[in-house]
């Protein structure tokens, strides 16, 4: 009677099926879509929760960490799971929220060895990682595999997010040519993070994935959205594609993923500070 939806699905998704931009067709697109979330931390928590709630059919979740007590101030999907692998904990959360979603949990690091094969299997990638080598690795794998990606980073009270669409807009390297020198940016462990901040940025990242799948609205392609939770301000910087970009430019230097380009330094960072 109502397409291929079960009565339970009609009830579950009723508030978004009603939206003119979604409808039954959009809901089917979501149920057929595959999104990879890299990192089930603060950004990943809200992204995973909303993607699962919306009925994204397949969610890949990759994280090698275990849930710690200090995570729960902001990583809200891991309640009651201290000591469990975050990938497994996130999988349990998704299953309890929406059984329509098939979860593929990878309890491993997103690495130069698995990067391209990993992103290749998905329609959209969410970067919820907490360090520069991984931000660049995700970007490079997505550019080489022509996959759209939402990037996000946070520190203290500030968050940044942008979306890269393959061959259309700027990639992460077009905007952030090089990572800052080690030590310049403090880590979240040193500098702290306001718990709601990754919730807000991760939710924006989920919105980007959903709009891309639904082929509606405007993504953050070509725009870097900056958020300050202390001032409660959003600031937008426009960003163009760079012809001299080292990976998506006219004469790219990076044509494959070489592990030495993504070496973990002794520092771990989780965001970009405007120097404030």
């Amino acid at each position: 009677m109502s397409g291929s939806f079960t009565d339970e699905q009609i009830r579950r998704y009723s508030r978004q099926i009603i939206l003119p931009e979604v409808g039954g067709k959009g809901q089917k697109k979501l149920l057929a879509s595959r999104v990879l979330v890299i990192g089930a931390g603060g950004l990943g928590s809200s992204a995973i929760a909303y993607l699962a709630a919306a009925g994204v059919g397949t969610l890949g979740i990759i994280d090698s960490d275990m849930v710690e007590l200090s995570n729960l101030q902001r990583q809200i999907i891991h309640g009651g799971n201290i000591g469990l692998a975050k990938a497994k904990s996130a999988e349990n959360f998704v299953r309890s929220l929406n059984s329509d979603v098939e979860v593929i949990a990878y309890q491993e690091r997103f690495s130069p060895e698995n990067a391209r094969a990993m992103v290749r299997r998905y329609d959209f990638v969410i970067d919820g990682s907490d360090n520069f080598p991984t931000h660049y690795l995700i970007n490079d794998a997505c550019v080489l595999e022509k996959k759209p990606c939402s990037h996000g980073s946070i520190l203290r009270y500030e968050g940044y997010t942008t979306t890269s669409l393959p061959q259309k807009g700027p990639c992460y390297r077009c905007i952030f040519k090089k990572s800052p020198p080690p030590g310049l940016i403090p880590s979240c462990q040193e500098a702290g993070v306001f718990g709601v901040l990754p919730g807000i940025i991760g939710t924006i990242q989920a919105a980007e994935a959903l709009k891309f799948i639904l082929e509606t609205g405007q993504t953050l392609s070509g725009r870097l959205l900056c958020f300050n939770a202390l001032d409660m301000t959003f600031f937008e910087a426009s960003a163009g594609k760079r012809s001299d970009c080292s990976i998506c430019g006219e004469q790219p230097e990076i044509v494959s993923i070489e592990p030495e380009n993504y070496l973990e330094k002794s520092w771990e960072v989780c965001g970009i500070d405007r120097g404030a």
Binding site: M1, S2, G3, I10, S14, R15, I18, K25
Partner: protein, 74 residues
């Protein structure tokens, strides 16, 4: 050809969700006859159909507590 959708027993917003899903499967110009037994839903469904650009051809009570909407897909 006229399609029919019996939404007796359904309430908002599922009345419109099911109507919308049915309309999506139809071609432009096709007509759908919808049966409803909730007065609020009858008003809401016809208003929502109009706001999506469809044409309400008929809206009437066909028996005590049962309403019929005939809509033409835009």
């Amino acid at each position: 050809m006229t399609e029919e959708l019996d939404l007796s027993g359904e309430v908002c917003p599922y009345t419109f969700v099911k109507t919308k899903l049915k309309m999506e499967e139809m071609a432009a110009g096709e007509e759908l006859t919808i049966l409803l037994d909730d007065p609020a839903a009858t008003a809401n469904v016809s208003r929502s159909l109009k706001s999506e650009g469809h044409e309400i051809l008929d809206l009437k009570s066909i028996s005590c507590g049962v309403w019929q909407i005939v809509v033409k897909k835009a």
